[in-house]
Symmetry: C2
Subunit: 288 residues, 2 copies
Amino acid sequence: MGFSERANGYIERVEATLDRWLPAESTEPRALHAALRYAVFNGGKRIRPLLSFAAAEAVGLSPKGVDAMAAAVELIHCYSLVHDDLPAMDDDDLRRGKPTVHKAFDEATAILAGDALLTLAFEGMARDRASSRAIGELAAAAGSGGMVGGQAMDLAFEATKPTREALETMFRKKTGALIRAAVVMPVAERGADDPSHRALGEYAEAIGLAFQIVDDLLDIEGSTEEIGKPAGSDEARDKATWPALFGLEASRRHADDLTEAAWAALARLPGDTDGLRWLGERIVRRRS
Amino acid sequence: MGFSERANGYIERVEATLDRWLPAESTEPRALHAALRYAVFNGGKRIRPLLSFAAAEAVGLSPKGVDAMAAAVELIHCYSLVHDDLPAMDDDDLRRGKPTVHKAFDEATAILAGDALLTLAFEGMARDRASSRAIGELAAAAGSGGMVGGQAMDLAFEATKPTREALETMFRKKTGALIRAAVVMPVAERGADDPSHRALGEYAEAIGLAFQIVDDLLDIEGSTEEIGKPAGSDEARDKATWPALFGLEASRRHADDLTEAAWAALARLPGDTDGLRWLGERIVRRRS
């Protein structure tokens, strides 16, 4: 059985954990809890949880020990989409073809729903007895030195042309850090000097940067139907993107080079790396 | 030496931890990190950290084991003020006489700063090896079943008159849950059935509700100078408050009764409860 078949089982696992962690919609305050579930059960591809399960396979760990990490990283991802879509941020009305949370509910509920999802990530990990190192790894990736810092940089770049170095730093923080956390959390307890921890980190950093470059490419090349938001919306806002700085062909080539670097890191892992390879391919070749 | 003298030392301790956890303002992205420090070092009275240190005294624990909890609960409090002040929420321009974060910076930075402070609370606890039970206790108090849920209820109450029961539930969630977490975190590892855990919980719930009632009273009775925001702003928005439902005198009396219940709980604790008593008095008799 290839990873593509196992992936469905892993998606079921993470959605079961998310369903267990999230209060029922009938729990007061109802609008808030409805918004939490709307933001989480939204047709997402669960790439980050799959990366956690695939990383566990690559070092020979059982999926059971990864369930809490996988659910937590997905909650952080979902909260970031809710807040990034807000009028004061990217001001998007659609997300995967459906109204964004502040459109389906209201702005205050969207702010609070994001706050609650972020908090629930750590509550769930603590309740399911994840290691404090894994909690610390996820929090560091999500905070001002990682994802939130990257979003702040991205907003500051609007209508300015950053250097390649600044753009790459922004990418590594904004999307790369959380992808890295998804991949290394399963071995977080071993510390940063562990050879598998290092190899997983290198894989994740390469794939994470490729992911963001492909995201920018899709914004230009994709149709509105395929990506679920108006195509060319980055360009319309004169946003700093990789293709805007380096062109389409060079961007596509750079994404491919990064993928090769990721494969080289995988060769140093002791377990089954088919899943990480499959996910890497999917990230770089995806069409939406 | 009474607790009022020890309090200054505790405030120095928690501000040292906060200073250690918060990135320097010179760290990129600078505006975000400046906003984090602006939101945290803002003349706050550090009531919640003091409650954690006083709770440690009341069960005979050393302050060293409480440092991370005290800093984390203060970060959660600070983030909640930043998000609550946003235009889509309470829309306040002033906080303790100074421009709110979205006024001093901008709205996007305020959203991201709140997110980063919330995340840093858990990163700091994890990095300083707080117990997962303490992390879970804080997260549960801060999330949709606690503070965030209370804020959602409060917003839904605007221009409606809730029942006393609904108002009390809102108060217990919106401010009570975090105060409770501040007080019980030092004994979180012992579990909810521990007699000291129970007594601390009862003290905190009584004081927490009194705190909110006094807050509502101050909004009516206080001057703008004393409370640092326009007096009567709740009334102007026809907000659900305890005095609006029950009158000034009955509200003041209820706050006093709750304080008596808090003293009764303190009598069951083995250590020095002067600090918790001093803080309780200060919360109920405060003028700002």
